[in-house]
Symmetry: T
Subunit: 144 residues, 12 copies
Amino acid sequence: MTVQVLNGPNLGRLGLREPEKYGSTTYPDLVELLGKTGRDLGLEVQVRQTDDEAEMLRWVHEAADAGDPVVLNPGAWSHTSIALRDALAMLTARLVEVHITNIHAREEFRHHSYVSGVATGVIAGLGVQGYVLALHWLSGQADT
Amino acid sequence: MTVQVLNGPNLGRLGLREPEKYGSTTYPDLVELLGKTGRDLGLEVQVRQTDDEAEMLRWVHEAADAGDPVVLNPGAWSHTSIALRDALAMLTARLVEVHITNIHAREEFRHHSYVSGVATGVIAGLGVQGYVLALHWLSGQADT
Amino acid sequence: MTVQVLNGPNLGRLGLREPEKYGSTTYPDLVELLGKTGRDLGLEVQVRQTDDEAEMLRWVHEAADAGDPVVLNPGAWSHTSIALRDALAMLTARLVEVHITNIHAREEFRHHSYVSGVATGVIAGLGVQGYVLALHWLSGQADT
Amino acid sequence: MTVQVLNGPNLGRLGLREPEKYGSTTYPDLVELLGKTGRDLGLEVQVRQTDDEAEMLRWVHEAADAGDPVVLNPGAWSHTSIALRDALAMLTARLVEVHITNIHAREEFRHHSYVSGVATGVIAGLGVQGYVLALHWLSGQADT
Amino acid sequence: MTVQVLNGPNLGRLGLREPEKYGSTTYPDLVELLGKTGRDLGLEVQVRQTDDEAEMLRWVHEAADAGDPVVLNPGAWSHTSIALRDALAMLTARLVEVHITNIHAREEFRHHSYVSGVATGVIAGLGVQGYVLALHWLSGQADT
Amino acid sequence: MTVQVLNGPNLGRLGLREPEKYGSTTYPDLVELLGKTGRDLGLEVQVRQTDDEAEMLRWVHEAADAGDPVVLNPGAWSHTSIALRDALAMLTARLVEVHITNIHAREEFRHHSYVSGVATGVIAGLGVQGYVLALHWLSGQADT
Amino acid sequence: MTVQVLNGPNLGRLGLREPEKYGSTTYPDLVELLGKTGRDLGLEVQVRQTDDEAEMLRWVHEAADAGDPVVLNPGAWSHTSIALRDALAMLTARLVEVHITNIHAREEFRHHSYVSGVATGVIAGLGVQGYVLALHWLSGQADT
Amino acid sequence: MTVQVLNGPNLGRLGLREPEKYGSTTYPDLVELLGKTGRDLGLEVQVRQTDDEAEMLRWVHEAADAGDPVVLNPGAWSHTSIALRDALAMLTARLVEVHITNIHAREEFRHHSYVSGVATGVIAGLGVQGYVLALHWLSGQADT
Amino acid sequence: MTVQVLNGPNLGRLGLREPEKYGSTTYPDLVELLGKTGRDLGLEVQVRQTDDEAEMLRWVHEAADAGDPVVLNPGAWSHTSIALRDALAMLTARLVEVHITNIHAREEFRHHSYVSGVATGVIAGLGVQGYVLALHWLSGQADT
Amino acid sequence: MTVQVLNGPNLGRLGLREPEKYGSTTYPDLVELLGKTGRDLGLEVQVRQTDDEAEMLRWVHEAADAGDPVVLNPGAWSHTSIALRDALAMLTARLVEVHITNIHAREEFRHHSYVSGVATGVIAGLGVQGYVLALHWLSGQADT
Amino acid sequence: MTVQVLNGPNLGRLGLREPEKYGSTTYPDLVELLGKTGRDLGLEVQVRQTDDEAEMLRWVHEAADAGDPVVLNPGAWSHTSIALRDALAMLTARLVEVHITNIHAREEFRHHSYVSGVATGVIAGLGVQGYVLALHWLSGQADT
Amino acid sequence: MTVQVLNGPNLGRLGLREPEKYGSTTYPDLVELLGKTGRDLGLEVQVRQTDDEAEMLRWVHEAADAGDPVVLNPGAWSHTSIALRDALAMLTARLVEVHITNIHAREEFRHHSYVSGVATGVIAGLGVQGYVLALHWLSGQADT
């Protein structure tokens, strides 16, 4: 099983951006961590990041065509992009929404996510381990 | 490390209650699953459920005194109990809020949780595996 | 057919509490009235009251297990308890929500009831006769 | 005692209109049922329906002049007609608002009724039996 | 100059309806009072009342065609009828909105009037003298 | 196929009413235009207008009974009449809602239409050609 | 009878301020007009204006002590001053609130007046004649 | 005179719970302080705390029966429990609501208290001395 | 006359995406249909789609420069992009907003469109025929 | 220690103003009562009242400069004056906000106080004794 | 050209008041700085401050009469004074609103300014240099 | 010091777009003006514009890495892009938000800017001179 791990705007700056909030793991560290986790779980994990909504939509369209499950950290688009929600609604496999921080304990405008309404589940506030847990969960579901 | 897994109202009915929404795992199955997960992870896991808010507050007070991390499925109290939030704010160890269903994709009145504002992180919509992931994550944090 | 007549907080004070609003029938009078009504209709009527939400949830769980129809006066919990709503959603038989006063003509915060969304029907403002009408209606449905 | 049973817009279509929601009783069936109920209770029951708000206001004015109690199913006007509310506020006898469906479990815009604020009581969601119960209740009140 | 004095729903009941709020002047008294006022001012005053929105719209259309100024007590339609507002927007002469009671000191839902947005001016709370003042004002404007 | 073209309040004033907003086509012009369009398309087109909600409801009931598609310009009732919405929900054929002006670019209170929720589609802001397009579309659907 | 005519902030600029909105009558013209009106009606009319809220409160306190009726144009304080409302609530004689423009047809923030809730009546949009009408009305009431 | 001092959820944790917010006085210290204050004032002071809403309701019912004044710190129930408000509305003696912290300077959801609407008065933000002041005040009222 | 038909995000997936909602016509089918319609009407029709907002803005700028009318299906950007609205406000020719589905009968967040406020007209819910009607209408306007 | 007791608009009318709400103690009585309380407590108490916001701001500035604690009854300015709040934020000593009536049980617009957000504590509904309690409390704090 | 620099409530306390927010420049420093800036730019700059709204209104009236441009720091009145807005609307020359702090990054109630709606432009958050920039800008406009 | 002047969507159209609102300065004029201003001030000024949010984010990331201050006209993204806000929050040097028009005096939806919450200051409504002032201010800060 191939899992698409897709990251939205500013996440390429991980480790550089407000580390007291997002932790010190850099984006390359994250890619490596998830690659290793994938190998341990026997999953093919493809990790990508973009600040370009059009590119993100294309990746989601491809995942929809391929029937791949998706782990998505939509970043700030969670709260503003209905286009992304519409693309995600076309997925046929599972979608896990991941947020590194606990968005529910931050500013009011981060409490609502358009993505959550079409996601299978949500993990927030558990740092980069949130991605790892999402992969574990998808792997477990694959067993079913 | 002892982890308190605390469950709020109606969760004793798991498996009986709207199984198309909550799955067929019964509450005793859940207790067993988490016991086993704990043993695998080397954690002492104490799983309890109550429909009585006073009892829940007492358990949270005890966890605060003991410094135990908590995995909490607050059920419907998420949306209505500020008393529970206040008790949880006294915890010194980590708190993971778990919801079996994706509350963000359900009725509007389930989108806001008073608990989230004082939780470390939130896992929703991943079924009873959400508890398992929470234990894994706490276990990993313990390593730190 | 057994019908569960369940009463929420402060209803044990009936007749004592703001009689100009709730009437002079006392709670024991109510129990007697409904017992008599049940006998007339050939229904087994069990009338209970509690100020303890956990106890109410247990009674609702029992009614769900027994398949009994329920006549419920949720009192103030109507407006605040999603836990009660969730328990009631498990009922398989009919649920009639009864309010002694016309809650729609009182304070704004009494206009919304979480219970109504999962009830079969609602009777409000007809005094303690509201319970009697509910029993009559359930009895008529039983004939069908 | 004469009781006015007044029905608002679209209720002449009963039995034809969304029967899965409103039941299969037709409007003529309803008239007959209430006539029979009236005879059993020793009440003179006058059942009327109109799609014309002016006609409804005239009927309410007449009931106010005659001092007749009213059983009213205001249909969609519940949510929009302050003129009807104002007319009803002139009634000197009791007013029971009846809805065939449980309006509280339907669309948000059906949750508020301008009529309820001036009604004695409300019965909703008990089908056409709601009218019958209202007559029973008025009959009982007449005994007092 | 002909002035149309138009009255909306329930105003035919003046003097009968909640006299502590609306005063003891009856509708025929009002017609006579305004007739006399008109004669004193040298105005042709036509006073009409209807509970039928379609009739009201027709009267407004006629006033628009005739270029007559209008004194309108829209009653409860103030708060609910955009159709009436749209008709009034076609008037070419002045429009004075009159309310017998001070609607701003009553229920919240009476505070907004769709009519006010297209009226020249508004008089509220001065009893039936409000109509008289409106005629005086129109008469004075005519002098200009 | 017979198509009912129904027009709500104030639309009989077309061409007279705010022509800079609604254009100079008069209502008789509209009737003729739609008659001609119908003949071109081989449709029987019945064009009617009323300021009387009860009459409109009757026409909708008839269309429901006949299974006729409807082109409806609800005028101001769009924003206020749930009774009209309820009647329209009984239609079995297609319903196209037409507005001569672009209601979404006008006052806030014109942005929401109760009719849209039960319509097949909506055309707004294209002037009286909006009706013509609606007939063309219905005609095309009839081909299917 | 002495009538206090009190004017709030910026009204001393009448005739200078946005004359297309407030007309060309200057404040001294207004004082003269009301003086003359008073003499005609046999009323002692005292006309004052202030931009100073404390001074306005003092005038209202004096009117309360003297039992004088008040004609008040509160200007912008209508929408913001609860202190003024509280002072006005102490009046024992009648209070007529006057606005030169139709505040209900202007910006949203001018639609609510704290004064209206404690006024006997309101006149808006009839220009400076609104004051004259208010005096006439008070004069008529005095006759009673 | 007996005064009931009733404390709601989490208040048993006083001194342990967020001492920077609630101070270092422990709950036993509070009980002792109030006992001493009572003796000084010649009042019989009964101090109790519960996390159980049903128990709180019972205590309020008893105070209502006994005619005892109540000093109540409802804790988080202030903001959520209408059942508590309803019970308190039955009190015949005075009710003083006390909050240790200034709830108006904390989170938005702590700004509204259901209890305040039925309380005689409220003291907030003055620490545990708030209780002492409440007793002094009740004592003074008793003198009257 | 050249008409720009511009399509926003996810519309390239037409026919693949939720066909029960959007129909089975694919995007290439749509391009062909509109090309043919253009030829029939003697219009030069340029059909484009993009998931990239910057590209869409550029196309709108070009249409503004060329003075071309635009048929725009903004997709999800309708509800979120003020940048698109600002670009569209620069158009000098007509703008018809088209939605394949009836957005007014879908989720609340789809009811408001920033585009509508600057569009000439809107067609929604008539499937891909909505584009065809828009071209017909523009063609007819061109005749004027 | 000098304590500033500052009173806002209309409070000079105490005893005259709605005595059923504010009690029969006059403002001079209040000054005397607080003077005496101050002497008993060994505090220098300066009691002032103004209807002039600028004067109030000056007094607050002086208290800020002197480091005096303040007992403030802001009257209606509580709900409207951010300028007052800003001045109070400069105080370095304690601030107790006092309201004679229970503002939380009055009109909705009195429930929010801009002052509370910068006050140490709040006393409401305990009549003029509220001031006395505030002085006692400040005196006790001074002991610390 | 004379420029009026007007400062609202509490600004006389500049340098004393929350210096971490407002900076250490005192009000006399500000006056000097602006005087010097004016001399450099060849502008006559009149700098005044008041805590008295009536005085501020008078200054604005004078500026309106003189046709002077205004640099205004309305302080807290920005958010509450419609009277000030109304006075400013009479200005014929330019108005620049200046805030020392970035009000958009502070409490919610500081985000809306009644002044902005009638200002030419707004400068916020640039400290006392904001005034200097405003003078530079006005000077540049004068060149035009 | 290098200052980044970044411009968001549609700003490349300056001078072409609604010149009555945005002025007649074209975008190339602006680039030249700011270049010259920079040279006068001894600043290196880099002026760029994009309609592509991804490109804007990249520029902001670069400015964050370089520690450059930023002058940003976010255009319509002000009101909708949380991604842009998140990127800007990473800046370590000053950020001045510039709007050519006074957004606070335009449509409601332009009153809130996500950028303002993370900006040092805001300049709006002063035309293209707003950019010049921002550069002057940054230059002055650099002196510190």
